[in-house]
Amino acid sequence: MPIYHDSSTKTHERVIIDRLLNSSCTNSPYLKHKSIISSGTGLTLLCSNYSKIDSLIKYKLIKAIEITVEYDEIHFLAKTKTLPLYACGESRELAINNLKYEIESLYEDLQSGDDFSDEWLKHKKYLKSIVLKKR
């Protein structure tokens, strides 16, 4: 369990930290250094909108995909930085999981032919270079 400077402050922030630490979807490097969160800076970093997806559902990823996750009035909105994709979810984890489905769906769409604009052909090349089928 993480160490907090002030254990009496079992607050919203602490709940967020616990949820982030228990989340398998986030891949923030700060999660690997749990002691950092005993400082205020750590909390700020942990609550950052930036994250990474390093695995998909049906496929493997050779390289992590950078994403942002933001709260959008009624749900969380996850977006990829390099691809024009977004997904929503009731929680941060669900939004990220739905974004994984979107990445896979796009990958499969792009495998179906070559009748794409140059922009999409670039995305196809990029995804082909980082996505592998699970054995």
């Binding site: 009624i74 909105l77 024009p84 979107e102 769906s105 009748d115 604009s117 999409w120």
Partner: protein, 91 residues
């Protein structure tokens, strides 16, 4: 931004009727806008009639390569393709 006026079903209808996008139903609805037999834009819309908060609305606009103002106009105009064709005297 007119996001509060519309829901996901409205976006789907506009895309289908105005841009001839055919949605494939998977976890979400995904469709391609084609021009000259090339796939140009890929748009994702949630199933059902869900509200469109601002960042989600903006994300759809970005997928269609439209500014918020242009996407508002795209959504505001109730003109459908068959009506459009009629006005042009094509049908």
């Amino acid at each position: 931004m007119n996001n509060s006026k519309y829901n996901t079903q409205d976006v789907r209808n506009r895309c289908e009727h105005k841009l001839d996008i055919e949605f494939r139903i998977t976890k979400e609805l995904n469709g391609w806008y084609k021009y000259d037999n090339k796939k140009i834009c890929r748009v994702t819309v949630s199933k059902g009639r869900k509200a469109l908060p601002p960042k989600t609305y903006q994300s759809i606009a970005e997928q269609l390569k439209l500014s918020i103002d242009d996407f508002d106009r795209f959504m505001d105009c109730p003109l459908k393709k068959d009506e459009y064709d009629k006005i042009l005297g094509l049908t």
